[in-house]
Symmetry: C2
Subunit: 504 residues, 2 copies
């Protein structure tokens, strides 16, 4: 017979992993191990929630997900059962081979795969997904790309396909120097390191400047990819709270004094996920602070050029006269994500160290891809491309603001972005959290990024969601928000049926 107390084992109320995901894991492993044989009837969601002292929404979400994976099946009026096939439709069967016991560093890499799982669910057909960080595919300059590739192959032949030096293809480094000088950054091509997208640039900096256990300080919330890096590189990450103008410098200074971090990571313009822009005075103050305590600053400028309103501000690197800023950006969001060309701008010693780490990481970024982006930059298409993109992004932002006003539950709040791709929404606290809402939203064919995935230190953002409005046409934005609203109402309705017991 089924004994729900077995399910208690894995629940960790303090952990990063949402309760409903812990429940999924536990039930799934008990089905796979045979503890819960096919045909077993599971308790009603209300009963299980009461027994485990968790919200019923968590149980509903877990059952829904396990049904979608084929582990469970529901029979109207009779309840929920372990499927006859067991894990028949499990999309990732474990290998038959026996894996030796790990004798290494498992404990340092958290098992939380929420981001990847979340992104996968959003890929289901028919889902209007606001969850990714991608720019719209219809912005990609495909004909220019094709022309550039054929031109490179005509011009360079096989030498375009040989190994490239780790610093990057020299003409591209010069083109990047010219490009960033238009943003106010003065440097030589010897300060430009070409990377495999901006993500690799960030990762190389962490690896070159920090050892395991060293402390990295960031905005809170911050870019998910940096949380990934910190986890796999085993560095401690600490988020400092932010306001409308970005990272709070008083808190940052206190943290520096107390903890001596090795690096400050910020996204000063159109921060991901909040959309905040750090004003010029705070940029200068941040640099003063960094110089005073001699802590390098990693500036992520990936959305800098995505401005469709308000006045442009110089990147930190343009204000840096001591070489304390390492500037990371790339042509992934602006041109083509899948070609994976990013760059770092940095001075002297940092540069040499980064080149060594780059060479060890992958010898060099693909030479063909570097040459193609070089030709595209030289052709001068980028200016017009950004202008067109930003005009369209403004239209989509406006559609998102209208749809948010029309469909989001009363008490929701959001920013009014002047650039970038994201709306950062806070749902009212009297309803489901973003994580609790997620499965129902997917069932309503809409997806978003769950806010608490962006927070360091296991905390915050339970009611926050990030919406990539940039990726959809206005009509789909409207429809997506309508579905979101429907999902929210459905969950709240279920909550009300739960004899007015609180959701959490």
């Amino acid at each position: 017979m089924f004994n729900p107390s077995q399910l208690l084992v894995a629940l960790d109320r303090e952990g990063e992993e949402p309760i409903y995901r812990q429940l999924i894991r536990t039930i799934r492993s008990q089905i796979e191990s045979g503890e819960l044989p096919p045909g077993t009837r599971l308790p009603a969601s209300r009963d299980l929630a009461r027994q485990l002292n968790i919200s019923r929404i968590s149980v509903v979400n877990a059952y829904a997900e396990l049904r979608a994976e084929g582990y469970l099946s529901a029979h109207a009026g009779r309840g929920t059962f372990v499927s006859k096939e067991g894990n028949g439709t499990n999309p990732n069967p474990t290998s038959e081979k026996v894996v030796p016991v790990m004798n290494t560093v498992t404990e340092n890499i958290a098992p939380d795969n929420s981001l990847r799982e979340m992104m996968r669910m959003a890929r289901k057909p028919g889902v209007i997904s606001f969850s990714s960080g991608s720019p719209p595919v219809e912005f990609f300059p495909m004909q220019n790309l094709r022309d550039a590739i054929n031109q490179v192959l005509d011009r360079d032949g096989a030498s375009a396909l040989n190994y490239e030096v780790p610093e990057g293809y020299a003409p591209l480094r010069s083109a990047v120097r010219d490009y960033v000088s238009a943003l106010g950054i003065q440097c030589s091509p010897n300060n430009v390191l070409i990377t495999g997208g901006t993500q690799q640039g960030l990762d190389l900096v962490i690896q070159a400047l920090l050892s395991e256990g060293d402390i990295l300080v960031t905005e809170n919330p911050t870019y998910i990819g940096m949380l990934d890096i910190a986890r796999t590189r085993r560095v401690q990450i600490h988020g400092v709270c932010t306001d409308e103008e970005g990272i709070r410098l008083d808190h940052l200074e206190n943290f520096i004094i107390d903890h001596s971090p090795k690096l400050i990571y910020v996204m000063p313009t159109f921060q991901n996920p909040t959309g905040h822009v750090m004003p010029i005075h705070r940029r200068r103050q941040l640099l003063n602070l960094a110089n005073e305590y001699n802590i390098p600053v990693l500036e992520d400028a990936i959305y800098h050029e995505f401005r469709f309103a308000g006045e442009s501000l110089p990147p930190l690197k343009a204000l840096d006269d001591t070489g304390i800023v390492i500037h990371a950006s790339g042509y992934t969001k602006m041109l083509l994500p899948g070609i994976r060309i990013g760059y770092l701008i940095t001075d002297g010693t940092y540069y040499q160290r980064l080149v060594r780490v780059k060479q060890a990481a992958d010898i060099s970024t693909p030479g063909l891809n570097q040459r193609v982006i070089h030709l595209m930059l030289e052709s001068g298409l980028l200016g017009g491309q950004l202008e067109r993109n930003n005009r369209e992004l403004l239209r989509r932002r406006d559609a998102a603001l209208v749809a948010a006003e029309r469909h989001l539950p009363e008490g929701s709040t959001w920013n009014i972005p002047e650039g970038g791709l994201f709306l950062w929404i806070e749902l009212p606290h009297n309803g489901p959290t973003a994580a609790e809402l997620y499965i129902t939203a997917i069932q309503q064919h809409v997806a978003y990024a769950i806010g608490n995935l962006f927070y360091t230190n296991n905390g915050g953002g339970n009611y926050k969601i990030r919406i990539n409005y940039g990726i959809h046409k206005p009509a789909d934005i409207e429809e997506g928000f309508r579905r979101l609203s429907k999902a929210w109402n459905e969950v709240v309705c279920e909550y009300q049926q739960m004899e007015k017991s609180p959701l959490l």
Copy 2:
């Protein structure tokens, strides 16, 4: 006045960096700082060698290099002087900006740039360079590449240029599964992780399985790229001595018992640089040993398919029934280095961990590049490509063997490779070391890889050189060996003029 004792400061006789390179660095920095003003006359090489108690060849090489860089100029009969222009032609001027004092982990990354410097010198025009690890550019299937790119763009449009999942483009993972099954490796596409070349595959494994300070055990000598990885990832690398059949298992077992390494890295077929092939019995014994002590084995199979003589042997992964082997290879050497497509084949838990590290490293390998390689594999061109390549490599190996016999100094020895790109030569010990010979060789317009760069633990291979015969046509191979012989004779002649004093 010039005081040669100043030069003593930087000399480290125990370090990895050759003495002549330390000398270059020291003199260069003293010129840049103004300690050695323009016009200063340097002591004769013989005098400086005696004062510093180093070989005269080191001084000659250092002066030659500094002349080539423009720091020094020689006036026949009058001696060697600091150039009037100072560092006028220095190819890498340091940035004008002030770099803040490092507060981070400098000491963990050795300052040895020999490999990169060496590779750069080999790129001088007119040099017949045997030093790289590249396959011949004339092997690159350029028309197939161009067709595949245009076909992918026609078929997939913009979706070929969007973000890809970190595991890799699913059809490519299936194609790799099919490909390795022909080598005897049974796996599912869920065991295939696409990487940015084989180098990234190796680096991801180190990062996923080892923490800083952990011990990695390899063959000695071993692949230079793995030494780079160990240095930048701050893991300890220890090389175990090898014989004609690869790594010595008795020494390996003793090392395991004494030091508990976390990973064994080997290249069982056409090892780089020795060309050794591990016979089947030692492959099985190695796996037994790894299983007995439960230590994973990273198999680098990058040259496996480059066989032009002898009988083919199964990769370690094909003999692995416990999942203890991680198999790394790629289509860089076989097809196109600059497209940077490699792969790892691994089981269960390792796989999940590697995917997380891959996502943090660069999100994914470029989707366009993955699709292009997928189409090229599907087209079935690889079989014919390898056959043609290997036929030509055999011809070039034979040319190299003839040239070695004809030109190498008496007492030299070398292997007779049955595959791969390299001849591994030991020069007679009564002449210059490979490092001492290098600058003169460059002056004779021939380059090679200096043997001691491949050794762990700062030791061995002083008289070894690695020759990439695969990259040149037979006539150039002959000419390259002729130049090498000329360089060797020139150095030995200079040695004889040095009043019969020993070289070292």
